[in-house]
Symmetry: C2
Subunit: 340 residues, 2 copies
């Protein structure tokens, strides 16, 4: 490994001067700088980031903790977060907790304050949140994708108004004339996605529609689960003309179940989800959904975390992400007079 002082020797200066050249051309004589640059190039020198991090007390690395990157939602977030981090001069360390709070704690213990200058935590359960709170003193932690803006956590966070997302979905279905609506509730990654379903149900109730328990299923977060649950729903309640799912994976599974059942989407049954993952528009029929603008949330989160690193220790404050927006595609349509 080539070190600073080897470069210095070759350029006939000291390490300090080389270090200066590396990020402060002001104080160095152009001619000297050129000599140094030449030596750097010739030797193929690359700074040792560990030494730099040790000296400066900052590593220019952000950590992102998520439960399972195999869920298609996360890669989209990661992509955007990584771009944002990179363009701000930071690396992004992706930490999979495998849905295991123990793994999450171990990660946090190891990286917090040394490998990572700050940590972004998504979708955790409460036990883990408490743990975060205790380690927050040594390193900034930002919760992101917080689903309950009305109940801010004890940490800084970026909240998304998922209740509103549910409400938008409900309004859309109501407007299309649907009244018999089935509901699929996913299990997020630390509790059911109840903010979404509550928002949805509130609108229905305001319109005088009661949804009985038989039309509601709580399931794991996956296309498979959505498929199976939709099968069950349609068996229980063949008269349903629409299905609302708390996320797109479930909705996609539901749509496929309907196709298997020879029910046309959306002519026989409409389907709507939440999130707007990439798959949503790639599937046929393309999924109507409520977009929560993942990339924007990711960027906001990274920005805010970096700011937290620079000026830490304020009150735990919550920032609301841009509001969810309805994206109408091909999976929803008007209720037909006589269905199936």
């Amino acid at each position: 490994m080539i070190t600073l002082s080897e470069v210095a020797k070759r350029a006939q200066v000291t390490a300090a001067t080389v270090s200066n050249v590396l990020r402060n051309r002001e104080k160095v004589h152009p001619e000297t700088a050129e000599r140094v640059l030449k030596a750097i190039a010739e030797l193929g020198y690359r700074p040792n980031l560990n030494a730099r991090a040790l000296k400066k007390g900052r590593s220019s690395t952000l950590a992102l903790m998520l439960s399972n990157i195999a869920n298609p939602f996360y890669p989209e977030f990661v992509l955007a977060a990584e771009r944002a981090a990179r363009s701000a001069g930071h690396f992004l360390l992706v930490c999979n907790t495998d849905d295991d709070a123990k793994v999450g704690q171990a990660y946090l213990n190891q990286i917090a304050g040394t490998f990572a200058d700050g940590v972004l935590v998504m979708n955790t359960d409460i036990a883990f949140n408490e743990f975060c709170t205790s380690t927050m003193q040594s390193v900034p932690i930002l919760l992101t994708m917080w689903e309950r803006p009305e109940a801010p956590p004890a940490l800084p966070c970026i909240a998304v108004d998922f209740a509103r997302a549910g409400a938008l979905a409900a309004a859309h279905l109501l407007e299309l004339g649907h009244r018999d609506i089935g509901m699929l509730i996913g299990d997020g990654c630390g509790g059911l996605q109840n903010a979404r379903s509550d928002g949805f149900l509130a609108v229905l109730r305001a319109a005088g529609i009661e949804t009985d328990a038989a039309a509601v299923l709580q399931i794991r977060d996956s296309i498979d689960a959505g498929y199976a649950a939709c099968m069950q729903l349609m068996a229980n309640r063949p008269q349903l003309t629409a299905i609302f799912a708390t996320n797109d994976l479930l909705a996609i599974g539901a749509a496929q179940a309907l196709i298997t059942l020879r029910r046309t989407v959306p002519d026989d049954v409409s389907v709507i989800g939440i999130t707007d993952i990439q798959l949503a528009h790639q599937v046929h029929p393309a999924l109507t959904t409520v977009a929560i603008q993942t990339a924007a949330v990711a960027e906001l989160s990274v920005d805010r975390l970096i700011r937290l690193i620079q000026t830490p220790d304020q009150q735990p404050s919550m920032v609301l992400a841009p509001p969810p927006e309805l994206v109408v595609r091909a999976s929803t349509g008007p209720r037909r007079a006589a269905s199936s």
Copy 2:
């Protein structure tokens, strides 16, 4: 931040002893050790990994460079790689190059040898490979998912026999009686997926079947592109009874196009892909595909990279991953006598 010497002071020993306690209980008196452990707990001490890395010259971090994590194939690889790395005591730094060799080079320049002890590189183009070769001297680099076992690169690599995967797909379709077969070739991430298509075509040719150019489309890697291309294919050649795609994303898009065209899969047209991404079995009809055993390849890659770090500088050697395997699901079936 709590340091070793603060712990030492509280436990009335020196930093060296604390350091010993931290990973070598042999040499230290149990009573002392207990005192140290107590101090560590009370102070909430956590070792500074940068200091450790600087001292030891190793950071216990692996980097994984990939083109775009939004492609569903990558998260599955990442998940497995991260688990393997973690269980071997390493972190995994995921680096998105955004399909841009420049970004890849910048990453490599920064992290190689300091933040990462070794680098896993997937699916790169040749220009980047050359760059890797030059930086390989300072840090072990392992190419993974190499598609051409018959042409080993100048770096250590894990190769997957994709030609064989194509051949298996061809054999399967032939066995089902298909002769009019369309082909969708994706663009990997640095060149077309030709190993796959070559393996496929070789088997067809050996069976006396010529595939003419009109039945072959070269496209970008996505469900959308597969959908559009399949539409075009069926317009050109309505008599096709099967479609082979060089990856599952394309195949899934193709299947959806067929459904849109009111062609039943697999009764009218069979569809087969390569890879066996999670989506393949979640989609309906479930996709027949040739599994390349992503998780196994990821684990193998991590193992081999770690070994390379421990004993570097051998000849660039190639390791062949476990062979691809046909996974028959619902999207392929026998050719019907009279098709559409």
